[in-house]
Each structure stands twice: as C-alpha cells, then as structure tokens.
C-alpha cells in the first residue's frame, strides 16, 4: 500500500517537471552560439559554391558522368549480332568513333587503340565475368564495367600522345601466376591529325 501511495504521489511531480521544462524551452527558443552560427554559414556557402561550380561545369563545359545505356546478358557477348562479339572501333563519320570494349579477367578487348587527334570517341563498355573498371590516365574517362550492364561515356582526344588505361576495380589474381588485376591494362595512341591514318585502329595482343 505504501508503495502505491508513493507512486501516485510521484506521478504529478514528474508531470510538473515536464511542464516546467516545456515552458523553459519555449521561452529560450533555439539558441545558437556566435561561432556555431558563423561555421554553419561558412559551410552552407561552401556547399552552395561547390554545387554551383559542378552545375556550371556540367552545363557549360559538357562534363558529365558515365551512364548505363543498356543491359546485356554476359553469356551472350559472343553471340552473333552482339556488338561485343567483335570488340573494337566503329567509325561513324570522319573523326567520330564508337568503341565497343569488353573487360574480362584479366585484359581488355581491345587493349590497343589508335585515333587521330581531335577524335570524338564514345565508349561502350561491359564486363564478361566480374566487376572491372576503366580509367584512362590523364583524361576524365573513369568508368565502371559491370557484368550485365553497358556503360557509356563520350570523350574527345585532342592532344597527341599515348594514354594508358587500367582496370581500377580489384578483380583478383591467380596465386603464383604472373597475371591478375595488376596486368589488366591497355594503351591509346592519339596520332597528330596531319600524319594520322585515315581511320582509327584497334588491336588485341
């Protein structure tokens, strides 16, 4: 009985505290310290500037991220009619090319590409087995190669020279064998426009 009496006495007491706290919070409002407010404003301005710069680059300079254009069954890559059955370069028009590329353990098909300077190249990339990546050093080309998905990205090669490309998603190795993720690479040669062959070339070693 005594416990019940204490319990009933305590209930209104805690309710009173809640009411007091509520009144106190209402009177005080949301209080932000001086420096807390300054840092919040600085962080907000920085975020807006960064987002604005990215938007400007995307709209004004055409810089975009890779996209997925289609899905494809990895088991059908070699089927007749599949563009990946004969990976390589397709010339759409002078200076405009498409590259169909397959990433597989542990090489790229093709692993040698040659373009005249100024070429506009659209990459179509997929993987035959596991997740791979394509990073062309010194350019903005950085794509994922996923089994079952065709990734695409357009790039323009204006500067003559050689550009190595690598797999940048770890895709395994064979213990004791000299092959593996680290040997998965290729090379693009951009030839000076005046001395370049009429058409681009792709080879696989």
């Amino acid at each position: 009985m005594s416990e019940q009496t204490q319990g009933t006495e305590q209930a209104p007491t805690s309710g009173e505290h809640a009411a007091e706290n509520g009144e106190h919070a209402t009177e005080a409002g949301l209080h932000i310290e001086k420096w807390e407010g300054i840092w919040l404003r600085i962080a907000l301005v920085m975020t807006l500037v960064f987002i604005g710069a990215i938007t400007l680059a995307a709209l004004s300079f055409g810089i975009s991220v890779p996209g997925a254009t289609a899905r494809i069954n990895p088991a059908t890559l070699n089927d007749e009619g599949s563009p990946f059955a004969t990976p390589g370069i397709r010339e759409l028009a002078p200076g405009k090319y498409e590259v169909y590329m397959v990433a597989q353990t542990w090489n790229f098909l093709p692993d040698r590409l040659e373009f005249p300077a100024g070429s506009e190249v659209t990459f179509y990339l997929t993987a035959r087995d596991v997740v791979h990546g394509l990073k062309i050093a010194g350019t903005n080309v950085n794509m994922m190669a996923l089994p079952g998905q065709v990734s695409t990205l357009k790039a323009t090669f204006d500067t003559p020279g050689t550009f190595n490309y690598i797999c940048h998603e770890y895709c395994g190795y064979v213990a004791g064998a000299p092959i593996g993720h680290h040997t998965m690479y290729g090379q693009i040669t951009v030839l000076p426009a005046e001395g370049a062959a009429e058409t681009a070339q792709a080879t696989t070693e």
Binding site: G62, I63, T156
Partner: protein, 39 residues
Amino acid sequence: MRKEPDTPQGTIVLISLFLIMTVLLWFNAYFIVLSRGAN
C-alpha cells in the same frame, strides 16, 4: 555577473586552416578536371 566563455582561438585557427585546405584542394581537383576538357 555571468562570465562569457573565452573565444576558442585555437579551434578557430584549426578550423580555418581546415576550411582553407578544403577549398584549395577542391578547386585544384576541379580545375584539373576542367583542363582535361569535356567528356
């Protein structure tokens, strides 16, 4: 009389450096991407 807490000058210096480095490194990467041209 209630005493205001001291201004945390060391914290302000460290966060200022952090913010300056963030802005510089971010724009460094941004201008590298722009210099490589459009995709």
